[in-house]
Subunit: 155 residues, 2 copies
């Protein structure tokens, strides 16, 4: 069974090279295709402070996809973890998911801050972030994840 | 341009019918295909309290997909909102994204609580929820979203 998706737009980002950290400094815009989407496809989005962006890690070659475990970022100080126990990009279906700050909406274009997708990345979906979609109950995570994320947004 | 995805597994859920609210009562399991994934694909996931599940709204017929604005849940008390300014399932690419509580991991099977996907739903990705992927900065949302979500998890 296959599920066929089409990009709804592409990321234009101030980051052009693949690099891991410091994403909060990046400014990005996403323009939806006016030939596909009605001019009101983003209507009301500006009432939300944040958006969840689903995107495709298209720079990852299919033969680099992992279906097993590996050390996050190849760092042997961190425990070997299954590909679904980490958020690395070499994952089956190569889908990224990030909550970014919404800066502005203008027609079919939105501007966001802190999106960890490089310039040209295909976008699969845009969802408004609702408080009720935060985790219910206390969040627990291993120490390696906290360490890995230390400089991810800002160093 | 097309992006082809393959389900990594399917949801087995206590909810079989399409219904909007009260999702926190549902218990679900997701079994990864042992023929595709290494036995350690979920290794270490149990160290996280929550998982983000990306899934495919496969019960939505393609001709029901919206590319414009509509009243959320057809409720005219709530403002007409672009499909990307709401989280409804009749959306381009039909991808859902939810953070659920992780109950248990057993080999290639995980059990979660509060996943808003009906029985049989194809799963596209499983990511560990990390605190650092919460929104940075204060969250703001319109009143209609708060009202819509009131009974979503529990009534």
């Amino acid at each position: 069974m296959e599920i066929v998706c089409k990009p709804i737009g592409h990321v234009s980002s101030s980051r052009r090279e693949l690099r891991d950290d410091d994403w909060d400094r990046e400014s990005s815009t996403i323009a939806l295709d006016a030939g596909v989407f009605s001019s009101d496809a983003l209507l009301g989005l500006e009432d939300f402070s944040h958006v969840e962006i689903l995107f495709h890690f298209d720079r990852v070659p299919t033969d680099a996809i992992t279906t097993a475990a590996r050390h996050p970022r190849g760092n042997k100080d961190w425990p070997k973890s299954g590909i679904f126990a980490q958020r690395g990009k070499n994952r089956p279906n190569r889908i990224g998911s990030t909550v970014a700050r919404l800066v502005a909406v203008d027609g079919l274009t939105l501007e966001v801050r802190g999106l960890d997708a490089v310039d040209g990345t295909p976008v699969l979906d845009i969802k408004p972030y609702m408080l009720e979609f935060a985790p219910r109950g206390a969040v627990r995570q291993p120490q390696w994840a906290t360490e890995l994320m230390q400089g991810y947004w800002s160093s």
